[in-house]
Symmetry: C2
Subunit: 339 residues, 2 copies
């Protein structure tokens, strides 16, 4: 029994006295204690592979900010790695895959499903340690990247403004792309189900590069795989956050998920008009609004909450930026919790 | 009298036998003759400051592809430079401003209006040479960056995934931001009016970073300045292309402009539902669709054209990517011209 289960109430479409609140990337550089912990590791990947450090980073924002949910500290690219595609993280540049997916043989050689997901024992151990330390105070969220976003990195080999190499692959080799997406999907389902076995109370799927696909390609190469994940996870609520996929809001609203995350470009009322009132919406203050003075942060936060209608989980419209003043983050959380 | 004025007919809301077609970035790396010309200059800025090279680059795609419009080869950042803010272009990284806008004094020291625009004589000379060489075959488009996009670069100092420094400035110093935007607007009006004096037949305003603002900020810091530009240019049609500003489509449709450009995420029918049928729409094939084989390019191009309703200028939904096969570009243009 969770002491504070506001997040799950809202996710399940119940009316709550106030919206639960957490922030994407709340476990991160906004916190001095995180920066101290991070500095004890030479690399980020070493950090996320150390279960007790993962638990510590996950719980820091809970203790410091009093948010209504914890989210297990990790990285979406652990899935490609478990499937056999190694990556590095280059300081200030992001992920880099020395080998990328270029042909059918590359896709066939990837491991998938439970066989791949079992390699992520360090994540599950971090989750168990976190659950123990949380001591049922609040729900713990587990997350994964959406299949298209992971495929985009695996083909492109790095971040990109256009992901034109990955998109080219969809236009030139649609059948291979579907095979790759299927293997990622199977792995993600096994991964998230193990997280749920170990105590995750809700899972969130991040489709970070949703917005670079055309509506037709998003419908073909993204939505069916997200739907497959949603329909395979029936024990806890699922949140789908597809950044910049405003053009697919109606389809996202029809997924077997309980929560749809909104970015800061999407007016909550426009989203609500397309999404059934039984579904919970999450979001969506502009992360840059937290650069304003705290009086303005308070005003903008209230305005954001009032623009939502129906079940709502308060959050930013994207991950909190690393240089955001902690006082503003605190003001954002406190404003919502005092409503 | 232009021999082919399909572009202007469509822009003015007239029914045309087929849509006119051109491509954003058609003067560029897709053409071997461009790459040859480019290689004779050590820097891109030296290139765009050489009027006869500008005319040559502008006309290359007209001769090679037979497009229905030429667009004067230049860069949106000539305006900040004319206002007093120097920039460099770093290979593979993009623009870099050694000095950025951080305070009121920096904004006050910028030149603006005709006083700044007069420094862009090399652009006007390139335009005159282009007009002479075009010999009234087709219309010539002049362009400028939208005030918000230029301000974003001037504050951020470079390209950015989030433009969080520029957005922070809007939240922390809204009055200074308005002063900066006003000065950019006045300069842009003087600049575009001089281009029109010298023979530009249509002007396009590119708001490349529209999509990173919240709807409220876009309404406050972007739309009024674009509107001021539109209402100051009454001699030729104006196209507004605000990338990823789907949330503002209705407001863009109410501007004193004749054409609204759509990116590839925007379904033409959804746009048309928000924009008066008297206004022309431009776009919007996914630039990556041109990586498909030519049979598929033909199919997707026809599908795109048929999804538009009312006056339409065919184009991609973004600038053509440098590694796009020339045969596909040709197929795109030919498919539309044979409709």
């Amino acid at each position: 029994m969770l002491k504070n289960d506001l997040l799950l109430q809202a996710a399940n479409g119940q009316k709550t006295s106030r919206p639960p609140v957490w922030l994407m990337r709340q476990a991160g550089r906004i916190l001095p204690q995180y920066r101290k912990l991070r500095s004890s590791f030479s690399g980020f990947r070493e950090f996320i592979k150390t279960p007790d450090a993962v638990a510590e980073a996950t719980i820091q924002p809970v203790d410091e900010l009093g948010v209504d949910a914890a989210i297990l500290f990790s990285d979406i690219l652990v899935i490609p790695e478990a499937m056999g595609l190694e990556y590095h993280l280059v300081e200030k540049k992001g992920p880099l895959f020395p080998t990328t997916i270029t042909d059918l043989a590359g896709i066939e050689s990837l491991q998938s499903g439970a066989e791949a997901a079992v390699k992520l024992e360090y994540v599950y151990e971090g989750l168990r340690l976190t659950k123990a330390a949380l001591n049922d105070r609040i729900p713990l969220i587990g997350f994964a990247g959406a299949p298209w976003t992971l495929a985009a990195y695996m083909i492109e080999g790095s971040g990109s403004k256009t992901f034109s190499k990955a998109k080219k692959f969809l236009y030139q080799h649609p059948d291979w792309a579907h095979l790759l997406l299927e293997k990622i999907t199977e792995t993600t389902i096994a991964y998230l189900n193990t997280k749920i076995d170990q105590g995750a109370n809700l899972v969130q799927v991040f489709d970070s590069w949703a917005g670079i696909l055309s509506p037709a390609h998003y419908r073909k190469f993204a939505v069916p795989y997200i739907q497959k994940i949603c329909s395979s996870l029936d024990r806890v609520p699922v949140t789908v956050f597809a950044k910049n996929a405003w053009f697919a809001l109606e389809e996202l609203g029809q997924l077997d998920c309980q929560v749809v995350g909104l970015d800061w470009n999407t007016h909550p009322q426009k989203a609500r008009a397309l999404i059934d009132p039984s579904k919970c919406l999450q979001g969506n203050l502009d992360p840059c609004a937290l650069y304003a003075d705290t009086q303005e942060v308070e005003r903008l936060t209230k305005q954001m909450v009032h623009s939502f209608d129906g079940p709502h989980i308060a959050n930013l419209g994207h991950g909190v930026y690393p240089d955001t003043p902690l006082d503003s983050v605190r003001c954002f959380v406190d404003t919502i919790q005092s409503l």
